[in-house]
Structure formats: C-alpha cells, structure tokens
C-alpha cells in the first residue's frame, strides 16, 4: 500500500473512531439527561408528603406551680 493509501486508511480509521466517540458521547449525554429527569421528579417540592400529628403531654412531667387565688377585675 502506498503512502496515499495508508493515509486514506488512517483517515478512515480516524473518522470511524470519531463516529464511535460521538456515539459514545451521545449515549452518555442521554444517560445524563435521564438521570437529571429522574432527579426532577425526585425533588418535586409540590409532591412532598407532610403528615400532621398530635402529641400528648407527658403526665409525669406536667408541673403546676404558683397556684393562687387570683382576683381579676370584672
């Protein structure tokens, strides 16, 4: 194979490499986009659940002090 032929082959190989890299890159980008999309739903503030609950006072810890007869103006 002559020099020109060898260079043509090199160019073809380089182009094939480039195409492969571009495909690899596109796949990575798509993967990243998917993961970002998954994050978007995971961190949706509107969808976050909030529970309401009532907590009773602890009987043993309830303290009553300063008990007094208080005169209140009518």
């Amino acid at each position: 194979m002559g020099r020109i032929g060898k260079e043509r082959t090199d160019v073809a190989h380089a182009e094939a490499d480039l195409t492969a890299l571009q495909q690899q890159h596109a796949a990575l980008e798509a993967e990243l986009a998917d993961e970002i999309a998954a994050l978007e739903s995971k961190f949706d503030a509107g969808a976050i659940a909030v529970e309401q609950s009532e907590i009773k006072a602890r009987k043993s810890d309830t303290e009553v002090t300063d008990l007094a007869l208080v005169w209140q103006p009518a």
């Binding site: 970002i36 309830t62 007094a68 103006p73």
Partner: protein, 736 residues
C-alpha cells in the same frame, strides 16, 4: 412529554447568547440559580429591556419555587401579575393601551387580538407556550402590596416598631443599624433632618427605640409619642434629658409625630398584613410568593420610609435563617436610584449595604436595577457577582461600568476598548452579562417574558387587577401549637358582696392589674403556671410549653375547662388590690386549705387530658416542624432542604459524568454540538463551546478549563466571548 431543553434543575432560562458579528442567536443561556446568591445588578437606559430581563429572572425563580420580595417604585414589575395561560385576546383586552390602539387605527378588540397574537408568537420563538405560563402560575402566587393605600393588598407598615429578634437585640452593631435606619426613616417621613451625630431628634428617638428594644418591647407610634414626652430615662449621654432636649421641644416633636398619626388616610398605613418577611415570601400553605411592594403612589419621603423598613426587616429575617449555599429567596429592587447612592447616606442605604455584604451566606440573592451605574454605591457594585449591562447612553455611565468591570476582575481578558465597543452597540433586549462564576462576559438576548409587559400599572389598575383576580390570599395560618382547650362558655359572675373575703392561711392571694385605680370590682379565679413536656422520639421532638391558667371559681372548685390560658411570661400579678375595690363572693369550700391543695392535681390532670402539641413531619426528608411553627414556615423549610439536596445530587451527577465526558478525544467530538444536557452544571459549563466559533477555540477552552476548575470559574460561554478574548473578529477562525 419531555420538558424543553431549558427546563433544567436549578437554572434560569434568561434568553440566548447573541453574536453581534453575525447578529445570530446562539445557545440558550441558562443561569445557575446559585450564582444569584452573590447578587446581581442590572443597568441599562430606559428602553434597554431591563424590565423584561428582570421580570424573566423573577419568573424563572418562581417556576423553580424561589420566592421574592420586590420593591417596585415605578409599577412595571406589577406586570408579573398579568399572566394569561390561554393567551386569549379577551385576557389582554382590559390591559391593552386604548390610546395606542387608537394611534394604530385599531379598535381595542383588534388591538387586544393583535397583542395576544404577538405574545403567542413571541413565546413560540423562544420555545415557550401557555403551558409554561400555567406552570408559573401554579408554582407561585403573585401579590401586589400597596402600603398606605387600599388599591392592592394593604401592608401594615406603621402598626408598630416591632422589637427585633433577640439575635439582633443582643448584637450591638445589628441593633444600632436597625435603630438608626428606623429612626432615619421616620424622621424622613416627618421632614426632619436625620443626622445621627447632630440631630437631637435622631438621638432621642434612637435612645427610646434602643431602650425599648433591648427590653424586648415593641413600640407603636402612640407609645413612641408618649415616650418622647416622658422618656423612660433621665440622661442622654452625660446630659440630663431636660438639658439635652427640653420638654417644650419634645412636645413639639411629639406633636409632629401625632400629626402624622392624625393625618387623613393615615389608617391605611396601619391596615393589612403585617410586615413579616416570612409571610410575604410564602402564603399560608407554604406556596412561594412574589410579593411586589408597589411604592409608585407614594411621595419621596414615604418611599424612603417603606424601603428602609422593608430592608431592615429583611436584614432581621436574614439573620434568623440557617446558612445555605442554595438560593433561598430573592430581594429585587427596581429603579434603585436614590436609595443606594455612592456618597450620600439615606436611611435605606445601610440595610441595603448589609444585605449586599451578608445575604449570600443565607441564600438571599439581591438584585438591583437602575438606569445609571452612578446611582449605585461602589461597595454595592463590588459585591455584585453578576452584572447585566444593557444599552447605556452617556460616556460617564459607560466609564463607570468599565471601571467596575476592569477594576473588580480581569473582565475575561477584555480590555477597555473592547468593552466600550460592546456597550455602545448593544441593541434592545441585549445585555452584556458578566458573571464572576464565568471566565468571560457573554452577550445575552433576553427571552420573551411570560408575563404581559404592558408598562407601569397605576393604583386604579392594581385595584382592578386585585378585584378581577380575587387576589386576596388567605391570611397566615395560626401557630401549630394548639395547647389545651380554651374557655368556651362564660360562667355567671359571682354576686358582689363588697368586702374582701378572708382567705385561709396557706392560700396565696394575687391581684390582676386594673385599668383604673378606683371603683374596681374583683372576681375570684384560681390561677397557676403550668409547664408541660411533649416528647416524640420518632420525630426527634422534646419541647416544653409554658402556660398560665386562670379558671373561674365555683363552689365545686375551679372550672378548668372554662379557663383562660395565657402566655406564662405575659401574666403580671400584684400583691395588693387597687384602692377602694369591691370583691365578689367566694365559696369558702373552694378555697379551704385542703380543697385548695387538690386544685393543682386537678389542673395537672386536666392539662394531661386536654393538651396536645400539633406538629407536622415530613418522612421523606426526616424533618419535623418546630413547636408553634406554621405550615407555611415548615413548607418553606422543606422547600429549601429539598433544594439543597437537589443541588448536591446534581453536583454529584456532574462529577460522575465530567470525567467520562472529558476523556481524550471527546474534546474534538464536542464540536458543533450542545455538550451539556444539564446546563445548570457548574462543572459541565466550564468548557462547553456552544457554537462553531466556540468550538474553534476548543484548545483555548481546554487550557482554560484546568485554570477554571481551580478558580471555580467557567470559561467563555460562546462565540462572542471567545472572539472578544482573541482580539478582532476577522482574526478568528471561520465558523464551520
């Protein structure tokens, strides 16, 4: 349906990059929301497109769930309330300018139709539609507050000079700033010179507020007037009060403040929602709010007063927040001229400077917009991480901006001539964006606003808007601490006998203060302090609550179910009754020593049976609301926690993919493609030639990337920046 490419996590879609040489638009310009924590200034002459840019920025923040407080001196930003998802001509019709329609030879209907079409097309050109407008409306509420007027939502500016948070009260510098600004604002409203060194009025009012606030007391104007007449201290500095500010002069000052209080229409300043920053940022259900404080209807002194109070409140609120690197909220002020000047010291300047210097650590982004850079204090400019520079008219303005750009930073390799040239030829809606997180400035063409930009809204139009939209958000939710049940049925008052009953030994007797000191009639009650303990290990809650119970006394004993329950710290009891008081009968059996001792037990039992602490919890984030906190506060806390987690997750993703995407060879493969799927990525944005010209400088970019990584900066975004860094456009490689 996939979201548009600009709809990414934590980024604001502001527009597209613009190449002045080809006059072509490039890639979408996605601004990392976290960059706004280092604040921004927007400068441009009238007609440069400032309003459009800033409205877009606020829209993007709202879509991302970030609330904002906006001070609107002109009425332009109120346009944020004009959002019409269906883009129907009839939506636009009430708001189009009939005069403009007439000038164009069209009927109002025709003009509204044309405007709706223009808006629809404009949005389409920028990849947006009515669904995005709906998304904006769903994400946040827009409320227009009009202090001193009932046109929009009234805002109670003058209800009280509320005592600041203990954190501020215990910080000498912060308290001094707060007092100084409040007094200067009030004196400005009265038209009194507010020199902090020479003005007697300033010094006296400062001393009064300082004394009250140190004791945790709030003052309303009436209390302030009384304090001016009878100060609660004898000396000011080394002088006694009479020598420093004689009673006659103090009365004159009190009369001036009273004149303000008695002026027609003054009640509007006292009505409406309290000036509470958290309630302004989130509605009662925790939905983010864009709170627009419109001051267009006020005179200069009133404007200064409102701006000073709002910014002071913001400083106080900011200091109560935890630190964060995510953007928590935005404070935006349009047309800042006169409020943040370079050399003068109006009362608004100090709190604004404090915000510019300290707000970053708390995730509060400050955005200031003005027509002339000379309107802004240089320290403020120096603290702004992002500059949006639109068309400027005068050489002085350009020189000031260039001085700032070259002085604070190397301006991405651009020299004075290049900056001058860039700024003189900026078309409308085009801005030079200098972001300290990027290595070089970029030219930005702003996107089409989702809101209908129809120009300033008048008070009448704001009232019309409020009526049409029913924009009266529910008041803030009450605190979540429910405590025990309160008095439901009034008990019949005992008969008055006149003389004071004899109380058995061992039964303490106390008296509540009466309004007057003569002819007081007392009724018997049983009072006690209660301390209750609420524990929930699963929720990580361990809280004590303190109450004071005051129950009517019947023959059977205290009626705890009908008791009044007060804050334990607020109750004040005296040891002696008022003079010449009369006393109601008291059942002897109820206060017999043995029976009296049982009352404590019965109260403890009643509290145990009836009291509960209402809390909210979020299992996903493992967070529990603070006892007494509102739903709004809790949801705001959740939103921030979620945003912080999201930002951390996005950063982790960037790190994961950065190494894969930066492998040798892929640099060449980056050519002619949009590299980063997530443009919010700081890491990914470091090297991302977005256009052909950008790709042509990829070698420069790669070299710059390493430097940028260490400097935490992103290299040039696009073609224009690259060409500017490389010199004349003609020497740049041709686009491929």
């Amino acid at each position: 349906m996939p979201l548009p490419s600009y709809e990414k996590l934590g980024v604001f879609y502001l527009g597209r990059e613009y190449d002045p040489a080809t006059q072509q638009l490039g890639d979408e310009l996605l601004y990392d929301s976290r960059d706004l924590t280092t604040h921004a200034v927007c400068i441009g002459m009238t007609g440069s497109g400032k309003t459009g840019l800033c409205v877009s920025l606020l829209e993007e923040a709202a879509i991302d769930g970030i609330p904002a407080i906006v001070i609107d001196p002109k009425g332009d930003i109120a346009n944020l309330a004009l959002t019409f998802p269906q883009l129907r001509p009839q939506d636009f019709k009430p708001w189009v300018d009939a005069g403009e329609a007439s000038r164009k030879g069209q009927s109002v209907d025709e003009f509204a139709n044309a405007t709706a079409t223009t808006w629809r097309k404009g949005l389409e050109e920028w990849g947006q539609d009515g669904a995005r407008i709906q998304r904006l409306r769903d994400a946040a509420v827009v409320d227009i507050y009009t202090p001193g007027s009932n046109a929009g939502r009234p805002l109670s500016i003058l209800r009280s000079f509320a005592a600041p948070d203990p954190m501020v009260a215990n910080d000498a510098t912060a308290l001094k700033e707060r007092v100084g600004s409040a007094v200067a604002g009030l004196l400005g409203l009265l038209g009194v010179d507010a020199d902090p060194i020479r003005s007697r009025e300033f010094i006296l009012l400062s001393a009064l507020l300082d004394a009250a606030w140190r004791n945790g007391e709030s003052l309303d104007l009436a209390a302030l007037i009384r304090s001016v007449q009878k100060p609660p201290f004898d000396k000011v500095g080394v002088f006694d009060v009479e020598s420093f500010f004689p009673a006659k002069d103090r009365t004159e000052l009190a009369l001036r403040i009273n004149g303000l209080l008695a002026s027609p229409g003054f009640e509007a300043w006292l009505a409406g929602d309290a000036l509470d920053i958290q309630s302004l940022l989130y509605d009662a259900h925790g939905k983010p709010r864009i709170a627009i404080v419109s001051i267009a209807h006020l005179n200069d002194a009133e404007r200064m007063f409102v701006v000073t109070l709002v910014t002071n409140e913001l400083v106080a609120w900011m200091r109560r927040q935890s630190g964060t690197t995510s953007l928590r909220a935005i404070f935006y002020m349009d047309e800042v001229f006169g409020f943040f000047p370079p050399s003068a010291m109006p009362p608004s300047k100090l709190p604004m400077l404090t915000l510019m210097k300290q707000a970053r650590a708390f995730g509060l982004g400050v955005v200031l917009a003005t027509q002339n850079p000379v309107d802004l204090d240089y320290k403020g400019l120096g603290n702004a991480g992002t500059w949006f520079i639109g068309r400027l008219q005068t050489e002085r303005d350009k020189a000031r901006v260039i001085e700032g750009l070259l002085g604070s930073d190397p301006a991405g390799g651009m020299d004075k001539t290049q900056l001058e040239s860039a700024m003189s030829s900026l078309p409308q809606r085009t801005f030079l964006m200098r972001n300290v997180h990027d290595a070089a400035p970029v030219l930005l063409r702003t996107r089409w606003a989702l809101s209908y930009l129809r120009g300033p809204l008048t008070s009448a139009e704001i009232a019309q808007l409020a009526a049409a939209e029913g924009k009266v958000s529910p008041p803030p939710a009450p605190a979540a601490v429910t405590g025990p049940a309160r008095a439901a049925t009034p008990h019949a008052p005992p008969k008055a006998s006149g003389s004071r009953p004899i109380v058995p030994a061992g039964v303490p007797e106390k008296f509540m203060a009466a309004a007057g000191n003569q002819g007081v009639e007392y009724e018997p009650r049983i009072g006690a302090r209660v301390r209750a303990h609420f524990v929930d290990t699963r929720a990580g809650l361990d809280a004590w609550e303190n109450w004071y119970y005051l129950a009517p006394l019947t023959a059977q004993g205290p009626a705890w179910e009908a008791a009044e329950i007060c804050n334990a710290d607020a109750i004040q009891l005296l040891d002696a009754p008022a003079a010449n008081a009369t006393f109601a009968d008291v059942a002897g059996s109820a206060i017999a020593a043995k029976a009296f001792a049982q009352h404590g037990k019965s109260l403890a039992d009643h509290v145990y049976r009836t009291s509960s602490l209402s809390i909210m919890r979020c299992p996903d984030l493992k967070l529990t609301s603070a006892p007494g906190g509102s739903e709004s506060e809790f949801r705001a806390r959740l939103a921030l926690a979620l945003r912080e987690k999201r930002d951390a997750a996005v950063d982790a993703l960037r790190r994961k993919y950065a190494s894969k995407l930066d492998t040798p060879g892929t640099g060449r493969a980056r050519r002619n493609r949009s590299w980063c799927a997530n443009k919010s990525s700081r890491a990914s944005r470091r090297c991302r030639p977005r256009s052909a010209w950008g790709a042509a400088c990829s070698v420069r970019c790669s070299a710059a990337a390493a430097a940028a990584r260490s400097a935490r900066r992103r290299p040039p975004r696009g073609a224009w920046a690259a060409s500017a860094r490389s010199g004349p456009t003609s020497r740049m490689p041709k686009p491929t």
